[in-house]
């Protein structure tokens, strides 16, 4: 039976908690309710109230307490009910968690995961739609994980929980129940820093991650049919560490690059990747590096506004056709 993206995350929690008594979950409504999205459903029944903890509405406490437990040897998985709320815990993440190993001379660590239900496309409005990965992308000491498939969501979360650094796990709300696939019955993990080529091609490279993978793949298929363009699509899977090798090899082959993500254009990871490509692979480029990302505005509520803001198949195709003409 196929497993949804949401269920895959739940399975990763179930399996990791069963395998390691140091793993525990805390967050708002994660225990009895099973989370606002039901990601943590069934954990309380299986592991008890000591390891599945409902917290007050206190994001800074949730992350701070996770840090405190982590430095003492636990492997907490903290949930932000909505990714938007993570700004309330910003200090704990960037100042406390991210610097802790560094300022203790490498003799302390924070093996903690923060699960961050992210993203738009669900009519969530300004405070239930944000992609907040770019808030953190310039902070060393953090790892940033952005799965696009059920397989990756499960495998990357398992890696995240057993990782010895603070990991921000951005799970996309739009994907929770919309995608599913058959997962291996035997245990598996997905390593950090290894992008995957979802579609091989020679004419152009699309670099993307998380929910933006899907319009990217659809656009690539349609461009193949309509214009005979053979496009390679790279799913980054993790933004920190970033798989530069896979990016560079692809760009050297295709000589044309588009970066597609749902995070905003200004300051999104696309800006960084674009800069690095132009710094180091300029001689391989046959055209400008193009970005398709959310518009530089807030994630507005009304359907026409949201549609205007988010990247989609048409926007990607228009930009790709222009780039192909170079």
């Amino acid at each position: 039976m196929p497993t949804t993206y949401l269920k895959a995350i739940n399975e990763a929690l179930m399996e990791t908690m069963a395998g390691d008594p140091n793993v525990f979950v805390l967050g708002e409504d994660v225990a009895m309710l099973g989370g606002a999205f039901k990601v943590t459903e069934g954990l309380l029944e299986k592991f008890g109230a000591d390891r599945v903890i409902d917290t007050p509405i206190s994001e800074s406490l949730i992350v701070g307490a996770a840090i405190g437990a982590a430095i003492m040897g636990m492997r907490p998985v903290a949930e932000m009910q909505f990714g938007d709320f993570i700004s309330c815990a910003y200090d704990q993440i960037v100042n406390m968690a991210a610097t802790l190993r560094y300022r203790h001379g490498g003799r302390a660590q924070v093996p903690m995961v923060i699960r961050i239900p992210s993203g738009a496309g669900i009519h969530g409005g300004l405070f239930h739609s944000q992609n907040t990965e770019s808030f953190f992308i310039s902070t060393p000491g953090l790892k940033i994980v952005t799965p696009a498939t059920a397989y990756d969501a499960k495998g990357l979360l398992k890696t995240a929980i057993m990782d010895n650094d603070p990991v921000l796990f951005f799970e996309h709300k739009y994907l929770y129940r919309r995608i599913q696939e058959e997962l291996p019955s035997e245990p598996y993990t997905v390593p950090f820093g290894k992008a995957v080529i979802r579609r091989a091609g020679v004419d152009m490279t699309f670099i993307t991650y998380s929910a933006a993978l899907y319009p990217s793949l659809t656009a690539a298929d349609e461009l193949q049919k309509e214009d005979g363009l053979n496009i390679e699509v790279i799913d980054l899977r993790t933004l920190r560490p970033l798989d530069w090798e896979t990016i560079a090899q692809s760009v050297k082959r295709t000589n044309k690059v588009m970066i597609i993500h749902e995070d905003r254009k200004t300051g999104g990871i696309g800006a960084e990747i674009s800069a690095k490509i132009s710094e180091t692979l300029f001689d391989f480029l046959d055209g400008p590096i193009v970005r398709v990302a959310s518009e530089d505005t807030h994630y507005a509520f009304s359907p026409p506004l949201e549609e205007y803001i988010l990247p989609n198949v048409n926007k990607i195709k228009i930009q790709a056709k222009q780039l192909a003409a170079y």
Binding site: T55, A66, M72, M96, R107
Partner: protein, 320 residues
């Protein structure tokens, strides 16, 4: 208390005072750079609280809690090298002053976002509770830090879960230049504990015995599963917020008033009444500490600085 215990406490009170006094001089000489925060006048709090702790208890000291580091067992040499920014310091030169620690000794370094360590201490206490370990977590903070939301979030949560955590407020009446009356409308910050469902106690932070009594009860409570305590120790810092700060905002008379309640002479009266030969004891301990400080300065000065490229290490468990 045994005579040995009484001497140990005196040793740490004096070590803290003399260490900090030396640090102030080294700062004036330009040997210690960056922010230097003196806790002079507040020694009885860290010494009195940490005296009742073990290595396995976690403390989250604040930036002027030199005494907490020393009582917990951090080597004065390593501590001095830390202040010098040397490779042999706790952070290997990565951050200044007391922003580092050593979990081997149960000491976590603070950030500059005061009160941020309260949720962290609370999380450590959560671990002790989940794992049914008999340890406690202690967070030190100033009355100014209690204005931050982290104070509320931490105390609220630990009250709900009856966690083995002790919040020690060193109320020295000034958050940098801002007087307590401008920070809060209550006289006793400890009164706030009631709102979180546990006990708050006020004591004189300049009276080692008072601190030990209150802290001892809180530690016992925490270890026996009775939950958290908020302790407010009224005290005074003799120096400015940092060594760069000339605290003109405080009346001279106030400083003198508090200097007359200095925790060390107060404890010396106790020692005398307990039939210690104070003159001899003082001489012995000061001589012992002077040697320790000479060695610490010598160690720090002869230690190498980190290489510039060390700035890129210790970011992650493994390089990638």
């Amino acid at each position: 208390m045994t005579a040995e215990e009484e001497k140990r406490l005196y040793y740490f009170m004096k070590l803290t005072r003399m260490f900090e006094s030396r640090v102030s001089k080294l700062h004036l000489q330009g040997k210690i750079l960056g922010g230097v925060y003196s806790g002079m006048g507040q020694e009885a709090i860290t010494v009195g609280v940490c005296h009742g702790l073990t290595k396995k208890d976690l403390i989250c000291p604040l930036h002027r809690d030199m005494g907490a580091f020393l009582v917990k067992g951090i080597d004065p040499k390593i501590l001095m090298a830390q202040l010098y920014g040397k490779k042999t310091g706790l952070s290997k030169g990565k951050d200044s002053f007391l922003h580092s620690g050593d979990l081997e000794y149960g000491v976590l370094g603070a950030t500059s976002m005061l009160a941020s360590s309260l949720p962290v201490a609370t999380g450590a206490a959560l671990k002790f509770k989940i794992k049914k370990e008999p340890h406690v977590a202690v967070a030190f903070f100033g009355e100014g830090a209690s204005s931050r939301g982290d104070f509320h979030e931490a105390l609220n949560f630990s009250g709900v879960h009856k966690l083995p955590v002790i919040y020690v407020c060193e109320n020295n009446f000034y958050a940098y230049s801002t007087a307590q009356s401008t920070q809060m409308a209550v006289e006793n910050l400890a009164d706030r504990a009631e709102g979180y469902g546990f006990k708050g106690t006020v004591c004189s932070g300049n009276d080692l015995h008072a601190v030990m009594k209150v802290a001892g009860a809180a530690i016992e409570n925490a270890r026996s599963g009775m939950g958290p305590t908020l302790i407010e120790c009224k005290t005074y810092r003799y120096h400015g917020h940092s060594e760069h700060d000339q605290p003109w905002y405080r009346p001279e008379e106030e400083l003198v008033e508090w200097e007359s309640r200095d925790p060390i002479p107060r404890y010396e009266i106790y020692l005398q009444k307990r039939k210690h030969d104070l003159v001899k004891l003082k001489e012995e301990i000061e001589s012992q500490i002077n040697t320790i400080l000479e060695e610490a300065v010598e160690f720090a000065e002869s230690s190498p600085y980190p290489d510039g490229s060390d700035a890129m290490s210790d970011l992650y468990a493994t390089l990638y």
